[in-house]
């Protein structure tokens, strides 16, 4: 019989898989940032399930992984803010928002710049 904790525990890996898929296959950087955040939240959820299974000493969960997840959410936010700022600057400079260097338009732009 599956309990709720196992259910959430299986949700975490599913989110990691979905996030990783989006991160690799989606060509738009902003979608990659979104997928990266889903991948991260799946990892956090796995931590949360480990914390919940470690319930002891009158607590409903191990506070150590919970605190690690809080730190993780903050650092993921800092990385996201940084990535978005980089992306918007790239768009301002080149008028494009793509990581694809084999694009012919981009190739001529880079030669002009150098």
């Amino acid at each position: 019989m599956m309990n709720a904790i196992t259910l959430f525990g299986l949700c975490g890996p599913a989110l990691v898989g979905l996030g990783l898929f989006g991160l690799i296959t989606n060509p738009q950087p902003v979608r990659k940032i979104l997928a990266f955040n889903i991948l991260g939240s799946g990892t956090f959820l796995l931590f949360g399930v480990i914390a919940r299974r470690g319930a002891a000493a009158g607590l409903d969960g191990d506070p150590v992984p919970q605190a690690l997840v809080i730190t993780g959410i903050v650092v993921a936010f800092a990385a996201t803010a940084m990535a978005i700022a980089l992306l918007l600057r790239l768009f301002e400079e080149t008028g494009r928002a793509s990581l694809n260097s084999s694009n012919p338009n981009n190739a001529s732009e880079t030669t002009d710049a150098s």
Partner: protein
């Protein structure tokens, strides 16, 4: 099958549906809107996992502030979407198979956990009363793993420095490019006027109660940041230029005070970030108060983005 279990099944189904939509949606903007909903659903999952502190952080940061940044970016980049070349079908299928394998591997860990349950809860609780804190998560953040928490605050300051550094040279020290919707008598203006005072009280309460109950400097600071951004967007207060000295002092105030308390541990206690016996709670409250303010200002400025106008 209890009612709670059915609720949890529906919650997980919704969460996975929204996550899939975020990955496959055609427009980046609708994916970003879905991301806000995703964060709130995830916060509910954290509540169900009895991690209220994490739920508050996820709702405030994961959904709220990150969502706002992504919405802004998606709306600015809308015109570039048509030119993006999607990955080929063989590659997509190969990646899908590999990602499914990784997910299955992680799921196996969940389904077949080691027979010994690893937990640090008894150790965390054993000496928690000495710190005077009642919230074990706050205890881990500010007593056992205070160095991590200090570095986490420094990461935020570094993120702000990096974001500001991405401004073109001529705008350095200028005004961030936050979009302001100044319409007197609009619903937004009324909301900013009504919600901001309540939100500020709530933010301070969340920091204050964090010592003994779920909450803390981070969650409180995020609420303060949200109120500040709301007031700026409604045009009730000007977006400050980033060369304002007071603003910069506020950004580093929290980490500096926390670092000072940490260094004082060498003299007054037995090492870096150690608290002298009996003074742990007051020192943590002082550090948290300063951090709440700094986090509020730093997150507000990160949301406002790099300078895009020259200061007048």
């Amino acid at each position: 099958m209890t009612l709670t279990f059915i609720f949890n099944v529906v919650l997980v189904a919704l969460l996975l549906t929204v996550a899939t939509w975020i990955i496959v949606a055609r427009a980046a903007f609708s994916a970003a809107v879905a991301f806000v909903a995703y964060g709130l659903l995830l916060a509910l999952v954290w509540v169900e996992l009895s991690a209220i502190d994490v739920a508050l952080t996820e709702a405030a940061i994961g959904s709220g502030v990150t969502g706002m940044l992504l919405l802004g970016a998606a709306s600015r980049l809308r015109e570039t979407e048509a030119t993006a070349v999607p990955a080929g079908r063989p590659l997509t299928s190969a990646v899908a198979v590999l990602c499914a394998l990784i997910a299955a591997g992680l799921a196996a860990i969940v389904l077949f956990p080691p027979s010994i349950v690893f937990t640090l809860a008894p150790q965390a609780m054993a000496r928690l009363p000495e710190s005077g804190l009642g919230n074990p998560v706050a205890g881990v953040l500010f007593v056992y793993r205070a160095f991590d928490t200090l570095l986490e605050k420094v990461v935020l300051v570094l993120a702000l420095v990096s974001v500001w550094s991405l401004a073109p040279d001529r705008f350095w020290g200028g005004v961030p490019g936050l979009h302001v919707y100044q319409q007197p008598n609009s619903v937004l203006t009324l909301l900013a006027q009504l919600l901001a005072p309540l939100g500020i009280v709530m933010g301070i309460y969340m920091f204050w109660t964090g010592a003994n109950n779920p909450g803390g400097a981070f969650q409180g600071g995020t609420v303060l940041a949200a109120m500040w951004v709301l007031v700026m967007i409604a045009g009730l207060q000007n977006v400050p230029s980033t060369d304002r000295r007071a603003l910069r002092y506020l950004v580093v105030l929290g980490p500096s005070i926390f670092l000072t308390i940490g260094l004082a541990g060498f003299l007054l206690a037995n090492g870096f970030l150690a608290y002298p016996p009996g003074y742990a709670k007051p020192l943590i409250i002082v550090a948290e108060a300063a951090l709440t303010l700094s986090i509020g200002v730093t997150l507000g400025l990160l949301t406002a983005g790099p300078p895009e106008r020259v200061a007048r």
